[in-house]
């Protein structure tokens, strides 16, 4: 058992896939190697191309474009704006979804199909339709005028991330015996809030981390909603500068990749230090 187990469901698909390929005759079949090579080329070639484009003048290696991109106040501002939306959406989503999913699991199992359906809706509604709908209800002629308020975009982002966040948290909740743990805490005198915060949340922490990471990275790369609502977030800024300063934009794309990878790494590290992972480490 390695630390990868602790990183949660988010990793498990990859891990089990590798394990399966490694089993059997001892040597993976040729076609699976071919698939692997093709995938690597497919994923990394554009990245290498971008890097080559960003770090050269066409002839010699240079960090000039990266420096220009990073020192551009618009770029930095847009990264911070995106990060701000990503963080606030993530917090709102986790704070709203985790207790709701817990309550449905514990007391209102009849509502589960409803929640399952509602949380899948954002997948089938294109972002542009979502924006039009939001404008209709919260726009200038809408029932509540929220135009210009970042709350509107956070609300839209919340809807967008709902499928990932709900599913990641719900899977974690189903993996532990929520009902019995709750009853055990109650029998020891614990009220509902303490039970949720001290017993349930720590038990599903890896699920919550996965949910948070999925929400964060989704929002960091979101273009449609931000663009339509007139926010110069990072992806919007990249799109705007690409025509005029394409090498700078390319270097910033790489920066955004780094941000995503760093957050994945941070998640893995945090998950490794969570109790479940620590137990595994001590047991070894």
């Amino acid at each position: 058992m390695t630390g990868s187990r602790a990183a949660g469901a988010f990793w498990s698909a990859e891990t089990s896939g590798t394990a399966r390929a490694g089993r059997g005759s001892g040597r993976p079949p040729a076609w699976s190697l071919a698939v692997l090579v093709v995938s690597i080329v497919y994923f990394f070639l554009p990245l290498l191309g971008t890097a080559a484009f960003a770090f050269s003048t066409g002839k010699v290696f240079t960090l000039e474009y990266l420096a220009q991109g990073l020192t551009d106040p618009d770029a930095l501002g847009s990264i911070l704006l995106s990060a701000g939306f990503a963080v606030s959406t993530t917090v709102v989503a986790v704070v709203l979804v985790a207790p709701s999913a817990y309550l449905v699991e514990l007391r209102l199992p009849g509502l589960r199909p409803v929640l399952d359906f509602v949380t899948i809706l954002p997948f089938v509604i294109p972002p542009i339709i979502l924006t039009l709908g939001l404008e209709e209800v919260y726009g200038i002629r809408g029932i509540f005028n929220l135009v210009g308020s970042p709350v509107l975009l956070v609300g839209g982002y919340f809807a967008l991330t709902l499928p990932f966040v709900y599913r990641a948290i719900d899977n974690a909740l189903r993996a532990v015996d929520v009902r019995t743990l709750t009853e055990a805490a109650e029998s020891l005198g614990s009220g509902p809030f303490r039970t949720f915060l001290r017993v349930i949340v720590p038990s599903i922490s890896t699920g919550i981390l996965s949910a948070a990471l999925l929400a964060f990275t989704t929002i960091m790369g979101e273009f449609t909603l931000a663009s339509l609502m007139g926010y110069a977030t990072f992806p919007v800024m990249l799109n705007n500068t690409y025509a005029s300063a394409s090498r700078e934009a390319a270097s910033l794309v790489l920066v955004s990749f780094m941000i995503t990878w760093l957050s994945v790494l941070a998640l893995a590290l945090v998950a490794r230090r969570s109790p479940t992972a620590r137990q595994v480490a001590t047991a070894r």
Binding site: T180, E183, A184, S187, S190, R194, P202, P275, T276, T282
Partner: protein, 384 residues
Amino acid sequence: MARLELHGISKRFGDQVAVAGFDLSVEDGELVTFLGPSGCGKTTTLRITAGFETPDTGSVVVDGSEVTGLPPNRRGMGMVFQGYALFPNMTARDNVEFGLAVRRRPPAERRRRVDELLGLFHLEHVAGHYPHQMSGGQQQRVALARAIAVEPSVLLLDEPLSAVDAKVREELRTEIRRMQGQLGITTILVTHDQAEALSISDRVVVMNSGVIEEVGTPARIYAEPRSAFTAGFIGAMNELPVRVASRREGLVERAGRRFAAPGATELPDGAAALLLVRPESLEPIEAAAAASEERPVLRGRVDVQTFLGATMRLFLGGVVWGAAAEGDHEIEQLAVDVPSSAAGRWPVGTELSVAIPVGSSRVIAARTAAEAAAVTRRPGSART
């Protein structure tokens, strides 16, 4: 430490009756077991006591004050769950401490109390371990320590030993009894294991289909079961169909012979009845020895021998009453316990006659079809 009273508890789930008219008083410091097959209502009654279910009728009273309407976290009871239900994110120590932290006890007092409990359950060496690093037995001891830490008025144990293996189960049940006696905690244990119930209880409540069949000390329930259900459920028991011959004289009749049997005076003349005899009560005799009114005799062929340690259980087939004509095979199977050292005298295939000694049998009314079905349904059947 408290006296627990359950008054007229009833509960239905949909149109399924889980418990009906359950009345029981548990004395201060007493260990009472709810025993019965799955679905008999024992766990529902326990959960109603704990506050996890609301009864349709009836009340739960602790030391004279009613707690029926209180949520579980305000009842001050301790509960141990079937699957341990330890908090996976906490060490053994933190698990035990949880209830004390909820009650905002000062840290020094908490530490002392947790140390004391870890010592009581021999858990010092796993204090820093997380649940999944511990064996099943250790986890269940942590669960017990956690429930007891808050000095509950009543300790509720829901099949606490069903998830651990046989050897640990026996150790733990001795430990539960020792701890319960030492601390004098009023305790209710729910189990479907009759050996567990008999071995550690002050009183046993035998339940079937949501109602109490009978309540009594383990010795009384074992020696003198008052219902066919209890007789079938507890211990190995031979059930021989007879008919009440004379209520006034206390005689039953079978295969043309009459003999005295305790309990016959409580049944009407001519009633179909069951004569209950434990395998260890039957006495092997010489084939020539005559049956009498005091001592009916059965004869059969040894089919199977099973070794039980000090005793060997012989299963006889083709059993007939001593006086019956050849070919009158009335009883399918009869279990007879003999000392293992003497079992060599009756190898498989030999004939054996046994007497039913005076006073070692008991007559009860034959069970109804529904009762018979309930008995055959129950798990881990030890009935013969």
